[in-house]
Symmetry: C2
Subunit: 81 residues, 2 copies
Amino acid sequence: MIYTAHITIMPLKELLDPQGKAVIGGLSNLGISNIKDVRIGKRITLQVEADSSEAAQVIAEDATKKLLANPVMEQFEIQMA
Amino acid sequence: MIYTAHITIMPLKELLDPQGKAVIGGLSNLGISNIKDVRIGKRITLQVEADSSEAAQVIAEDATKKLLANPVMEQFEIQMA
């Protein structure tokens, strides 16, 4: 069966997020000044072939650790749909 | 008050996602072959100053339409935390 896994990857809280800071500047140039903080990460949707949702989650976690997320700078969360 | 808005921006279903296709190739090089499809989008977290959660959502939607998402290629979804 095919299972859907949603992976959210965000920059670690301790780190500056330069892309987010740039967006705050862009918003303020557009006259939107009540957005105080912006953090930008990735959202990845996987279609995983597996025998069970649990097995699919293990595969998604493996893929995230090996390729998708950088644990030095990012934290991730996996949600099975 | 400060409200948190989570914005998920994904490439439209009708469009090819070249970044996702590249990741499928990368996964297969790592020996992970049971992931059949990958779609890569953005996840943005905003801290919005507003009088109510509804007002904060309106501001987040405005910011998303004006700066964060490209409606020609992307769809978005806003979730208030």
